[in-house]
Each structure stands twice: as C-alpha cells, then as structure tokens.
C-alpha cells in the first residue's frame, strides 16, 4: 500500500512537474466559482454547466500539454505559428458566421474562432522578434513590432470584432511595453487616438457600435432600448449589496431582466448573488493570477520567455477590466467575456492554453541552485 501510494504520488508529481501549482490553484478556484454562477444563471439550461466543464477540461489539458514544451522550442516555432494563425483570419472573412460580422468558422462539431489563436501567436511572435533586438526597442523596432500587431488587428477589425481586436492588440502592446518601450510612445498614442476617434466615428464604427458608445454615455436616455442592458446590469450589481442575495436568488437573471446572463453579463449575476464580497474575491483571484504570471516572467532567464509570459499575463487583465467595467457602466459596451466565468466561446480554452505557455516559462528556467 505504502509503495503504491508512493508510486502514485511520484507519478502525479512527475505529471504536474511543469504545472505551476499557485496558478493552477487560483484558476481552479475561478473555474469553480464560474461553474457555480453558471449553474445559477443558466438554471433553465443545465447542460451549459457540463458543456463549460468539458471546455475547462479541454483547456486544462491544453495548458498541461503546452506547459511541457520548453520555451526554446516555442521560440523556435513562433514565426511559423504566427504565420499559420493568420490564415484562418483571412478565411473567416470569406466563410465566417456571426451575429454582427464574420467571427466564427463552422467546423461541423464546433464553431472555431480564429481570433482566439492569434491571442497566443501574437505574443509569441512579439517575444520572438523583440528578444532578437536590443532593448529598449529602437524606433524601427517599434514600427516593425507595430506592424506585427497591425496585420492581425486589421484582419480582426475587418470582421469586425472590436473587442477581440482590442485584446489582441493589447497583448502586442504589452510585449512592447515590457520590452522597455519609451514612454513617449504612449503619449503619442494617446494624442493619435484623440485624432483618430472622429475618423473612426464617421468612417469605421458600425451603427450598433456607435449606439453602444452613446448608450454608455447616457444609458437612461433609452431605458427600454439600447440602455436596457446596462441599466438592468447595474441594477443587478447594485441590488447584490455587500453580501449578495444568495446563490440562485438573483432575481434579475432568474426573471430574465438581465440579458446575456450566462455570457457577457455573468459577472453581474455573480455580483447580484454574492455581493461585493464575491466581487472582491474574484478580482483578488484575477490580480493574483496576473501577479503570478508577472512573477514567473520576471524570474525567467531569457528575453523571449519574459516577454511572452508577461504579455499573456497582462492580457488577462484586459478581459477583466473591460468586462467588469462594461457591465457596471464604467466603460462602454464591448463584447469581451469575463475570463473563466463567461460561458462559451473558445476563450476559456485559449486563456488556459496561454497560461500553459506561462507555466512552460516557469517550469523550464534554469535553477539557481543547480
């Protein structure tokens, strides 16, 4: 018995050798909370929980698999992965499907969202490119890096998918930032954005997107129309109070006042049922995940690993702040899911896979002691 137990422990230890247990613990906590809230929010459709759990299992497997690949090999593959991942982005423009644009490719057994892959391949490519150059990046390096971001970003905006575009672009920008991008660039970017905004408003943004922005500015202007989602979401959040109405007791979602309450607005369900304490707990878990990623990145020995792990960790933050801000009326409505809480999409898988890359960085760094 004792021997068997030791063997089992040994096998488990070997299996989990590359897995960062701190990260895994936080992720499992978030996934458990996510499934619990989904169980409540999707009470009319219990199969959602199973589908989501299956997705988590798949994502954890991908995470585990990726964590076992040494970053040197990842680095070697990076340009190829980046190049290949651009192809489905082109393809989706031709044969894609979706509510507001061409976002998904129907593979028969599931809907594949090509922009999810680029969320991993772009940080890889940026890390690969930047580690070849002297850092902080010089002017032409920033321009080329910007070009690497612009290609997938342009393709995604053509779909158009503003939320994903923003997530993808931010992961690239984070790579530049971590590589030591001069602060002047940020000043220039802010000024540029101010110049581009009117152009975007009149030439690029679609009606529903303009409506979202106007609604953000004053949701009460159209309480039964475009403002409905945000008003109902804020009511759900605010009604939760400090300790919440209790699991399964959220009237806003259970009585269908809250739209999309299993996907984009699931954090509002959590807020209603578990109150501010639930919100603070989840935000703390997210902060821990991001901090752990940055820690792993900072500990890494080579530039590629550092930038890859850091950029992926920080892009996690964009999900949280954009979704959390959007459903509470702090930011305009952008279709970004809450990581590991929102139901569906390929995002859960790609998020876990990305964290697998971070774990790979953590697992394969040379030990100080040896």
């Amino acid at each position: 018995m004792n021997a068997l137990a030791r063997i089992l422990i040994d096998v488990t230890a070997r299996l989990l050798r590359t897995v960062d247990l701190w990260l895994l613990g936080a992720l499992l906590a978030l996934m458990t909370i996510g499934l619990a809230v989904l169980y409540s929010a999707g009470s009319e459709t219990p199969h959602l929980v199973w589908a989501q759990a299956a997705r988590f299992v798949f994502g954890l497997a991908a995470m585990w698999g990726l964590s076992r690949i040494p970053p040197t090999r990842l680095r070697h593959w990076s340009p190829m992965v980046y190049g290949i991942s651009l192809l489905p982005l082109l393809l989706v423009l031709a044969i894609g499907q979706g509510k507001h644009g061409n976002h998904w490719i129907n593979l028969g057994f599931f809907y594949f969202q090509p922009s999810e892959v680029i969320k991993l391949s772009l940080p890889m490519m940026m890390a690969w490119y930047l580690q070849r150059e002297t850092l902080p990046p010089r002017f032409h390096v920033v321009l080329i890096g910007g070009g690497l971001i612009a290609i997938p970003l342009g393709l995604i905006l053509l779909q158009p998918d503003f939320g994903t575009g923003m997530l993808v672009a931010s992961s690239g920008v984070f790579a530049l930032f971590l590589a030591g991008l001069s602060w002047w660039w940020f000043g220039a970017a802010v000024a540029g954005a101010a110049g581009v905004a009117p152009v975007a408003w009149f030439w690029y943004l679609r009606e529903y997107q303009k409506e979202r922005i106007l609604t953000f500015l004053n949701p009460e202007s159209d309480p039964l129309g475009a403002g409905w989602n945000i008003i109902q979401s804020k009511i759900a959040i605010g009604a939760g109070g400090l300790t919440g109405k209790g699991w399964g007791q959220g009237s806003q979602s259970h009585l269908d006042y809250l739209p999309e309450h299993t996907t984009d607005f699931i954090f509002a369900v959590l807020s209603e049922e578990f109150g501010w304490i639930g919100v603070a707990t989840v935000l703390a878990l997210y902060l821990f995940v991001i901090g752990r990623c940055l820690w792993i990145a900072a500990e890494a020995r080579d530039g590629y690993s550092r930038i890859l792990a850091g950029a992926i960790g920080l892009s996690f933050f964009v999900y949280v702040i954009v979704n959390g801000g959007m459903i509470s009326g702090m930011l305009p409505v952008v279709g970004v899911p809450m990581p590991l809480l929102s139901y569906g999409g390929t995002s859960a898988v790609s998020l876990l896979a990305g964290l697998g890359l971070v774990m790979a960085v953590g697992a394969h760094r040379p030990r100080h002691t040896t």
């Binding site: 580690q131 070849r132 150059e133 002297t134 850092l135 902080p136 984070f174 930032f177 971590l178 590589a179 030591g180 109902q232 804020k234 009511i235 759900a236 959040i237 605010g238 009604a239 939760g240 109070g241 400090l242 009237s251 806003q252 009585l255 269908d256 006042y257 807020s271 109150g275 501010w276 919100v279 603070a280 935000l283 997210y286 902060l287 991001i290 901090g291 940055l294 990145a297 900072a298 530039g303 550092r306 930038i307 850091g310 920080l314 933050f317 949280v320 702040i321 959390g324 801000g325 509470s328 702090m330």
Partner: protein
C-alpha cells in the same frame, strides 16, 4: 549578428528593465482592479438601497384585485342585485399585432356585436396600448371553451374571469336600484388610476347614488413577474375592501303588489313608513330590464326604449313632477290655520264660483256650490272655493313660504341622484321665466294646486307622511342599513332630524280629520273604503295637461307623455295609527281621476292585510267622485288678467 551580440551584452540590464516594467505593470493592474472594485463598492454598498428598490420595482408588479360589488337586499333579506361569475375577453393592443385581422379571426369563434366593436374602437383611442381593453363581456361558456382551445393563436388576448352584476327581478326594481354600466371615458376621468381596474360603475338609481360604498376599494397583489410580465408568484397583497351591502326598506312583496295594482296603467307610486321615512315600495311604470344595460345595451333595444311614448326609462317619482292638484289642499288648509287666517270651524260659503273683488272672471268648482264649508269639509269634499279664497286672503308671498316649509320646491333628499326639486308658485319664480308680473288670479289657482306648481310624487308622499306622523317632515329613503362585509353587523343609515311642519297639534288634528272625512260618506274617496277593516285617510286630485273635451277616447299609452292627465291620490292608513303613507299618480290620456285611489287601497291592503291584488287590468270605478281642478293654467292665467 550585431543586435544579438549587443543583447547578450546587455542581458542583465534588460532583465532589470523588464523587472521594473513588470513591477510598474503590476501596480497599474492592481490600481485598475482596485478602481473597479471601488466602483462596484459604490454600486453595491453606497448606492445599494436605490438599486435594490429598482430591482424590486422590476420584478414586483402590483396587480389590481377587484372587490365584489356590494349586494342589495330588500327589507326581508332577499337579494335584489348580486354578482355572478363570468368571463370577458380582454385585448392588449400592443401585444395583439394587427387588430383588424385579430378581430376578424376572433369573430369566428366568439360572437362580436357591432356595439362591442364600436366600443372597443372608442376605448382603444382613449387608452394607452399596454392597457387591456375589454372586447366582449359575458363570454358564453361555449365561446370560452372554443377560445381556450385556440388561445395560442391570439397573442395579447386574455379570457379574464370577473363578477358580472345581475338583477334577478329585472324590471321590478329598475327605477329603484338602477343599473351599472361599462365605465366610459367620462367615468374614467373622474375615477383616477387606482380604480381603472374596474369595468363597471353605477349609472342610475341606487347603483349610482351609493357607487362609492358599493364599489369597495380595489386592492393589490404584489406579483413577481418575469421580463415578459408573466406572473410567477404572489409576494404580498393589499387586500381589496369589498363593497358595502345595502339593505333596502323596500319590501319586495309590496313592490310586486304595487306593480300589480297599477295593472295596465302607466304612472308611479311611493309607499313609505310615515314614522321613519323608510320607503316600502316605489314604482315608476312602465319599467325596463336593467340587465340590458349591464353589458352594453344593443342599439335596437335602446331605440325601442327611447321611442316608447310612455318613456320607460323615465323615473317618474324622482325626475317627474307636475301640478299636485287637490292633493296639496290638506297642507294649504294647515297653512290657513297656522297663519291665523282660519280656524278649523270657520265656514266659507261656496257658491261654486269664486270672484276676485272687482273682476268678472269666475273660478269654478267642479261640483257646483257646496254651501257652508268648514276646513274638514273643504278637504273631504275637495271644495275649491274654500282654497281660492284662502289663497287669495293669504297672498302669494305667505303662501309660498308655507309651501316651502312643507317641503315643496326643494329635493326631499331621497338617496337617488338627480331629484327634481319642483316649483312652488311665486312672483320670484315667475320673474325668472317671464317678463310679465304676477297676477292675483295666479295666486287663486295656486290655492288648488294648479298653475305654476310642480310637485313630485315623493314630495307629496312626504307631505302626507308629515300629516300622518304628527308633523315631522321625514326624509324619504331607500337604504335602511348597510354593512361593510357579510361578517359585519348591519348599521342603520343615519337620518337627519326632520323639520316640523306645525307646532299646533289641534291644527294637524283638524287636517287629519278632513282627510279621514274623504273616506267617509260625502267624501271624494268614500267608495274606496268598502270592506276595509282599517281606517284610511286620504286626498284625491287631478292634474290636467290638456283640455278635457275631444281627448276622451285617446288611448293613454299612445298619448305623448307631456300631454297626459295625472290622476293623483295621497293617503295613509291606518288613520288612527299610520304605518303606511302613499302617493299615487296614474297617467291618463282622457277623463277621470278614478284610478289612483283604488291603487292606493290595494297597496294598503297588501301592506296591512297581506292580500295581493290580482294582476287583471284596472277598470275605472264610475262611482268614485271625479275631482278635477278648473281649466288649464294658461286659460286661467289669461282669465286672471
């Protein structure tokens, strides 16, 4: 190769820089997440109360609970107006889509009359689209079943249970109870939002007068609803207050007897308890079926009622009125005594024709000269001469004041709406109508209840009650007591302290004796007393509206309403201890005042002896003394000049 070399050289510096940047990033992330957490704290803790309220407002919708309308009972507890469960079809226009096609499809399974559709269109324009509008009341059982099967085809259409008003005795109480009808725009404007859940309101009669009490108070259930508005469960309620029940002083048996006593005649009558003012029976004939109005009367039915020359919808007791004729003489006699102009034993010599000093025109008695006439005889034999002279001696101003004291020219205060207050002849009243001044002859004919007089049957009944009960001008009323629920006690309706018509019992006694004399040999009503085991007191009268000659053979039912003669009788019994007083008016196309008295006798018999009259049509009793005033007022006025 160059860059790579440099990178290797600067590896430590790059690592340091990365760590700096990572630290900055972490702090920024932490600050951003703390801001987000702070924002949520504001929503969830600081502004929690507001959002909690809005969340409740979202899910909890008040749903009106319509109380049952109060029931109406007769004095023996028989139900005269009740509520029966029924179904109606409500349509919410906003949810129904194309209304035209909806109505077309619905009409294949539910009978929709043109009146239903007309009313629906009218209401649709008046109400907002999310409020339900009733398309049809009283949906039949078969129709309801058909609709229930096909329900899914008709979004926005709902079969709603409700309580429908019913009048089990139909036309018997139409002019007492009245009816409820569909609430219309004018009603809605008066009612306010709270009661808009109601469908019916009292339109006439007691239903209207006691609307507020009968209606009760609409309550609310707090219903948790989902976003589609479907009710999920009840969270609480403000209970509806049921409408108050009314107990009438009317006795259904006496009411039936009264209708039967009228036989084929048109007219009206009031019987009341002279001691209290409780109305025991009250009819206005012809009547109508109030049930027709509850769910909206059809155009055809309404036209039939409106075109009837006998005006069945017209409440003769309350809205009608005309010259009281000789029935007012006992009160004028009392005025003569109380004014000091006459003593009961003072005699006047009736020549059969009264002349105002210095005028040629004579005012006649129907029966010629009656010789020496005292007060008692003047009432019993209805001697006009006595009253011509009395009125002339009194003068119109004093006459007018006494008549007002006896309750004429003012509503009796009966618990029915729109009561006619009548007219007491006076120069002031004439001045509002005509530029001509007052003629002495108009005073003279006022003395026999003709001329500008307008008195209602209710006023006459009250006047005779006051004589019967020792001088109290009681308020006639229909509702004896009310209760606020079936488990509550009946509480008598408060009645005002009646004013006194005289403080001199001897004067009243003389008038009473005169009225008893009517029922004795030589009196105008002697033929009525045959076989009666109780004493009666009374006074006959006639109010003419057209010339007597040339109209004798006209069928009264075909004669226009405003041209009909009115045969009148007021009286009470038993004369020594009155428990019932009546005023009866029978409309005649032609000659004769012989019908009102026998009707009164039958009412007395029914009340005092419990004998129901047979419903065979009335034949005029030729032995009853005809008691008619002089020529019509315009002729008299002309003569008075």
């Amino acid at each position: 190769m160059g860059p790579r070399r440099r990178q290797l050289k600067n590896a430590a510096a790059e690592a340091m820089q990365f760590r700096r940047r990572a630290a900055i990033a972490f702090l920024a992330v932490a600050a951003a997440l703390a801001t987000l957490g702070g924002w949520y704290f504001r929503l969830q803790v600081v502004e929690h109360a507001e959002y909690a309220t809005r969340s409740d407002a979202n899910r909890i919708k008040p749903r009106p609970v319509v109380p049952g309308r109060g029931l109406i009972f007769d004095r023996k507890g028989r139900v005269l107006a009740d509520n029966v469960p029924a179904y109606r079809l409500d349509v919410v226009p906003d949810e129904a889509g194309d209304l035209k096609s909806l109505v077309k499809r619905l009409s294949t399974i539910v009978a929709l009359t043109p009146e239903d559709l007309e009313r629906f269109d009218k209401e649709r324009n008046a109400k907002r689209g999310f409020r339900p509008i009733t398309l049809k009341l009283r949906v039949g059982e078969e129709e309801a079943a058909r609709f229930a099967v096909d329900r899914w085809r008709y979004p926005g259409v709902e079969l709603v249970p409700y309580l429908n008003r019913r009048y089990p005795y139909g036309d018997l109480f139409a002019h007492v109870i009245g009816y409820v009808g569909r609430i219309d725009e004018a009603d809605l404007a008066k009612m306010g939002d709270v009661d808009s859940a109601l469908t019916h309101t009292g339109k006439t009669g007691l239903e209207r007068y006691y609307e507020d009490a009968l209606r009760g108070k609409v309550g609310y259930e707090k219903i948790e609803t989902n976003v589609q508005g479907r009710a999920l469960r009840r969270l609480g309620q403000v209970p509806a207050v049921p409408g108050a029940d009314l107990r009438l002083s009317i006795d259904m048996d006496l009411q039936r007897a009264m209708v039967a006593a009228f036989g084929d005649n048109d007219g009206s009558a009031v019987a009341l308890d002279p001691r209290t003012g409780e109305i025991l029976a009250m009819v206005s004939l012809p009547s109508y079926d109030p049930n027709l109005f509850v769910n909206g009367i059809s155009h055809q039915d309404y036209k039939t009622l409106m075109d009837d020359p006998s005006r069945p919808l017209f409440n003769r007791n309350v809205l009608g009125g005309g010259p009281p004729g000789s029935t007012v003489k006992p009160l004028i006699a009392l005025a003569g005594l109380d004014s000091g102009l006459r003593r009961p034993e003072d005699k006047v010599f009736s020549t059969g024709e009264f002349h105002i000093p210095g005028q040629k025109r004579g005012y006649r008695d129907a029966h010629g000269g009656a010789g020496w006439t005292d007060l008692r005889k003047s009432i019993a034999a209805s001697v006009n001469f006595y009253y011509y002279k009395l009125a002339y001696d009194m003068g119109i101003t004093r006459f007018d004041a006494y008549m007002r004291k006896y309750g004429f020219g003012a509503p009796t205060g009966i618990d029915l709406a729109g009561e006619n207050k009548g007219v007491v002849p006076s120069p002031e009243w004439k001045a509002t109508r005509s530029k001509e001044h007052w003629y002495p002859g108009e005073t003279v004919i006022s003395g026999i209840g003709q001329g500008y007089w307008v008195a209602t049957i209710l006023q006459l009944a009250r006047g005779v009650s006051a004589i019967a009960n020792g001088g109290n001008l009681i308020r006639p009323h229909l509702v004896a007591s009310t209760r606020t629920g079936f488990d509550h006690p009946w509480l008598p309706t408060p009645q005002p302290t009646p004013p006194r018509i005289t403080d001199n019992p001897a004067h009243l006694r003389a008038v009473q004796e005169g009225m008893m004399g009517t029922m004795q040999p030589g009196g105008t009503g002697y033929s009525l007393v045959h076989g009666a085991p109780y004493l009666m007191a009374g006074k006959t009268g006639t109010a003419q509206k057209i010339g007597r000659r040339g109209n004798v053979s006209v069928d009264p039912h075909q004669l226009p309403f405003n041209l009909r003669h009115q045969a009148l009788f007021v009286g009470y019994a038993p004369a020594d201890n009155p428990t019932i007083a009546v005023a009866v008016m029978v409309e005649h196309g032609g000659f004769g005042a012989s019908t009102a008295g026998p009707i009164a006798r039958k009412i007395f018999d029914a009340w005092l002896l419990g004998t129901m009259p047979d419903a065979t049509p009335q034949t005029n009793d030729p032995t009853v003394a005809d008691d008619i005033g002089p020529a019509p007022a315009p002729a008299a006025a002309e003569a008075a000049r």
